[in-house]
């Protein structure tokens, strides 16, 4: 179309676009500075609430993980100085991406509770797994779990096999991690 290729024109284009981007970036860093702490605090509260839920007898102090590899975190659960076991934050991979599980494991490697901290499963389907009744199937049992269709143990949520399988795999992973920590491997 119009062949305006003179240097000043191109310079003007570049400078304008740069200015627009710079102003927007500045604004973003400002909002980020304001909201950053609230976001981190909210996430921490949510995790600690979930960790308390899966190990009800424990004192509600989960500040320093004894093991942290970026995706999994293990917290020691104690009650008045007595060791109860471990509360584990563990990732699982469902239909809509990553889920974050909180799994409580006792000293004798039995599951004390399972909770879903965060998920992005389809509303009304995968999200049905985020239900205390379903999650309580794991409580008080140990060993590697499998879904009913795949073998035994756990009834899958109707219409959410992928999510059920993901949660089951996550709980198994958390149990294994607890066993390794108990055995002093990690």
């Amino acid at each position: 179309m119009n062949d305006v290729t003179s240097k000043t024109y191109i310079l003007r284009l570049t400078v304008t676009l740069f200015l627009v981007t710079a102003v927007v970036a500045l604004l973003l860093s400002f909002v980020n500075a304001v909201t950053k702490d609230t976001i981190a605090e909210k996430a921490r509260q949510k995790l600690s609430a979930a960790l308390c839920e899966v190990m009800p007898e424990a004192d509600d102090e989960f500040s320093d993980p004894i093991y942290d590899d970026g995706s999994c975190q293990v917290y020691k659960a104690t009650s008045g100085g007595r060791d109860l076991g471990w509360c584990i934050k563990y990732p699982a991979f469902g239909y809509g991406g990553e889920l974050t599980l909180a799994v409580g494991v006792s000293e004798s490697l039995e599951v004390t509770g399972v909770a879903i901290v965060e998920h992005s499963e389809t509303a009304g389907m995968g999200s049905k797994a985020d239900n205390p009744d379903w999650l309580s199937q794991f409580v008080g049992r140990s060993g590697a779990f499998t879904l009913k269709g795949d073998g035994d143990h756990i009834d899958a949520v109707t219409g959410a096999t992928v999510t059920s399988r993901a949660v089951t795999a996550g709980v198994n992973g958390a149990l294994e991690l607890a066993a390794q920590i108990k055995g002093g491997e990690k």
Binding site: A25, L28, S29, G97, E98, V162
Partner: protein, 195 residues
């Protein structure tokens, strides 16, 4: 990363989690340019190209710029800028060096900037934590999934023109209802177990 892992990423992007029919990304071009088979093929090829390149460049930007500088919150802004300039650059490059390809794909390229499948694949690569190779594979196969869906759909639409349907369903509604049937067919893949 094993080769089977890459194959499973590719298969799930093409069939199980098809970008259009399952993830709802890129619906506008899917409905907009699927009236004729040859335009559909052109758009599909252009999308594969851009999605692959976008995955590559956004990964580089994320790992060498955003993460080291702790600017993860600028992700959306940075990605859309990368994609917009990438599309512009590809357009100029094709025009100068491969004019035949440019004539085939040229008119679709500007549309791709606002194709949410492209930004979508970049964001998904980051949230899924894929490495460079996995990102590119995911991008390219996401594009292939787009091509498969749009080509199937275009051939359906060419027939719809000659069929009778209620007047109220003229145009978009009948297209949406037929894509619902196509999506239903793709649901069959969701049972596909991968390694």
């Amino acid at each position: 990363m094993s080769i089977t892992g890459l194959i499973s990423i590719a298969l799930s992007a093409i069939l199980i989690e098809n970008f259009i029919l399952v993830k709802f990304l890129g619906i506008c071009p899917f409905l907009g340019v699927s009236k004729k088979m040859d335009t559909a093929v052109g758009m599909g090829l252009a999308v594969i190209f851009v999605m692959g390149l976008a995955s590559l460049f956004t990964w580089l930007v994320n790992h060498f710029l955003l993460v080291p500088l702790h600017l993860e919150y600028m992700q959306t802004l940075a990605y859309i800028l990368v994609i917009a300039s990438l599309v512009q650059f590809v357009e100029m490059f094709l025009q100068k060096s491969i004019p035949t390809l440019y004539r085939a794909l040229g008119i679709y390229l500007p549309l791709i900037t606002t194709n949410c499948a492209v930004l979508g694949v970049a964001v998904l690569n980051t949230t899924k934590g894929y490495n460079l190779l996995e990102s590119v594979v995911y991008g390219v196969s996401g594009g292939i999934g787009f091509l498969v869906a749009i080509v199937l759909f275009a051939s359906i639409r060419e027939r719809i023109q000659f069929s009778e349907h209620p007047k109220a369903f003229e145009g978009f509604p009948i297209a949406l209802v037929s894509s619902a049937l196509l999506a239903m067919a793709f649901m069959g893949f969701s049972g596909l177990k991968i390694w």
